[in-house]
C-alpha cells in the first residue's frame, strides 16, 4: 500500500496529464451531447453577449451589400406574388381549400458570430428559446441554406453551419429530381460535395442543386448551389462538386424555418419504425 502511494506520488504529474487529456478527449467525442447541457447553455449566453457587442460594431461595414441583397429578394418576392395573383384571377371559380394551410413559418435572425476556417464551423444567432427557436430548425438566407440549429439558450442559438463535417442534408438536382446526399469536404468554404446520384442521370455544369424536403428541417426547393464539376469515383455514382450560392464569409441576416407539422410528422414516422 505504501509503495502504491509512493508510486502515485512520483508519477502524479503523468497521471494528472493523462486524466486531463482523457477528459478533453471525452469532451471532443461526446461534445454534441454536452451542447445541450445547462452549464454550456449558461456560458453560451455569456459569450453571446460578447458577440452581440462585437457584431453591432461590425455590421456597419456590410450595410451597402445587405441593402442590395434585400432589394434583390424584394423583387423576387414581388414576382412570386404576381404569379399567385394571376392564378387567382384566371380561376375565380376555385373552391377555397381549407387544407392548404401554411406548412412552415419563418422568422428572421441576425448572425452575431460566424466562422468558416475550422473543420467544424458554427454560427451564433441573436434569437433563442424565448423567441421560439428550437433545436433542429433549419436556417436559410436569401441565397440558400445556411445550417441547422443545434442548441439554444434563452436569447441565443448556435447553428451547425453547412461548412461543418457533421452537417449532412439530402439534396436533389432541380431539373430532374434525382436526389443524393450533400456534405462538406472540409477544404474550401465555397464548395460542397453531392454524392449518391446514379450514373445514368443526365445533368450539366451550372445546373441548380436544391433541398428535397425529406427531412422536416428544410422546406422543398430551397437553393443550395450550382454544379461546378463532376466525376465518377468507383461504384455507380457521381461525385459532384457543388459551388455554394451563399457567401458564408458575409452572412448577416438569416431566416429560421419552423416546420409547423414537425411533431405530427415525427410521431407518424416513429410509429412506422416501431412496427
Amino acid at each position: 500500500m505504501r509503495n502504491l502511494l509512493k508510486l502515485l506520488y512520483t508519477y502524479n504529474y503523468l497521471i494528472l496529464f493523462l486524466v486531463l487529456e482523457g477528459f478533453s478527449l471525452f469532451l471532443v467525442i461526446e461534445g454534441s451531447e454536452f451542447h445541450h447541457a445547462r452549464f454550456v447553455n449558461s456560458t453560451r449566453s455569456f459569450s453571446g453577449a460578447f458577440f452581440v457587442k462585437m457584431n453591432e460594431f461590425n455590421s456597419y461595414f456590410g450595410l451597402k451589400e445587405q441593402n442590395a441583397v434585400l432589394a434583390h429578394e424584394n423583387v423576387q418576392l414581388k414576382n412570386l406574388l404576381e404569379q399567385y395573383r394571376k392564378r387567382e384571377i384566371t380561376r375565380p371559380d376555385t373552391i377555397k381549400d381549407t387544407l392548404r394551410q401554411p406548412k412552415y413559418s419563418y422568422f428572421e435572425a441576425k448572425v452575431i458570430n460566424n466562422s468558416v476556417n475550422k473543420q467544424y464551423n458554427y454560427i451564433t444567432l441573436d434569437k433563442g428559446s424565448d423567441d421560439g427557436v428550437r433545436p433542429e430548425m433549419g436556417v436559410i438566407s436569401a441565397q440558400g441554406i445556411v445550417g441547422v440549429v443545434q442548441g439554444v439558450s434563452k436569447h441565443f442559438a448556435t447553428v451547425i453551419s453547412v461548412l461543418n463535417l457533421d452537417f449532412k442534408v439530402s439534396a436533389k438536382i432541380k431539373k430532374n429530381d434525382f436526389f443524393g446526399q450533400l456534405h462538406w469536404d472540409g477544404i474550401s468554404d465555397s464548395y460542397c460535395t453531392l454524392t449518391d446520384i446514379p450514373q445514368h442521370v443526365k445533368f450539366g455544369k451550372g445546373d441548380t442543386i436544391v433541398t428535397t424536403g425529406f427531412s422536416s428541417i428544410f422546406p422543398n426547393d430551397i437553393t443550395i448551389g450550382t454544379v461546378e464539376s463532376f466525376d465518377i469515383k468507383g461504384g455507380n455514382f457521381f461525385t459532384i462538386k457543388v459551388k455554394l450560392l451563399n457567401e458564408f464569409r458575409k452572412l448577416n441576416y438569416v431566416t429560421v424555418v419552423d416546420d409547423i407539422f414537425r411533431e405530427e410528422r415525427k410521431s407518424i414516422e416513429n410509429t412506422k419504425k416501431n412496427d
Binding site: 502524479n12 504529474y13 494528472l16 496529464f17 486531463l20 487529456e21 477528459f23 478533453s24 478527449l25 471525452f26 469532451l27 471532443v28 467525442i29 461534445g31 454536452f34 451542447h35 454550456v40 456560458t43 459569450s47 460578447f50 462585437m54 466562422s115 468558416v116 476556417n117 475550422k118 473543420q119 467544424y120 458554427y122 448556435t158 472540409g186 477544404i187 474550401s188 468554404d189 464569409r249
Partner: protein, 168 residues
C-alpha cells in the same frame, strides 16, 4: 508575488479576448488560423510547478473552447504543450541552467533561444489541434498545410509581441 499573480490574470484575460474577438475573426483562406493565446503558457515563469502548469493549460484551452464551440479540442492541444514544456525547456537550457529571477522571453534570452523555444511549442500545439479537429488521416496533406501556414502566422505574432515588450 501578489502583483505577479494579478499581472498573470490580466494577461490571461487579455490573450483570451484577443484570440476570441480579433484573431478568430481572421477568416483568411481557411488555411491561416493563428492561435496566439498559447503565448500565456510559453511565458509562464520557470519555477511554475509542473502540475499547476497542466491545470493552467487545461483552464486556458477550455476557456477558448467555450467561445469557439469546440469542446475539448483546444483543451487537449493546450494540455499537450503544458506537458511538453518542461522537456523542451530542459532540451534547450543554457549550459549552466536557468538562473533564478529570469523568465522566458526576449528580455533574458537571445532571439535564437526564444525562436527555438516558441517554435517547438507552437508546432506541437498546432499539430495536435489541427489533427484532432480533422480526426481523419485521409486529409493529412491539407491538414499539414494548415499547420504550416498557421504556425508561420502565430510565430509572426509571437515575434511581434516580443518586440513590443522588449526592454532596451
Amino acid at each position: 508575488m501578489i502583483k505577479e499573480f494579478y499581472k498573470n490574470i490580466g494577461s490571461f484575460v487579455f490573450l483570451v479576448l484577443l484570440q476570441v474577438l480579433v484573431l478568430n475573426n481572421i477568416q483568411f483562406s481557411g488555411f491561416v488560423n493563428p492561435y496566439l493565446y498559447i503565448l500565456f503558457i510559453i511565458l509562464l515563469p520557470f519555477e511554475t510547478p509542473k502540475w499547476i502548469l497542466l491545470l493552467i493549460s487545461f483552464a486556458l484551452g477550455f476557456t477558448i473552447d467555450l467561445f469557439t464551440n469546440t469542446l475539448g479540442m483546444h483543451a487537449f492541444a493546450t494540455v499537450a504543450i503544458g506537458f511538453a514544456r518542461p522537456y523542451i525547456l530542459r532540451g534547450i537550457a543554457p549550459r549552466d541552467g536557468y538562473e533564478t529571477g529570469t523568465k522566458p522571453g526576449i528580455n533574458f534570452f537571445g532571439w535564437d533561444w526564444v525562436l527555438k523555444y516558441s517554435l517547438a511549442m507552437v508546432l506541437i500545439h498546432h499539430f495536435v489541434l489541427f489533427n484532432i479537429e480533422t480526426f481523419k488521416f485521409q486529409m493529412f496533406f491539407s491538414t499539414l498545410l494548415r499547420i504550416i501556414f498557421s504556425t508561420i502566422f502565430t510565430m509572426l505574432l509571437i515575434v511581434l509581441s516580443q518586440l513590443i515588450t522588449q526592454k532596451r
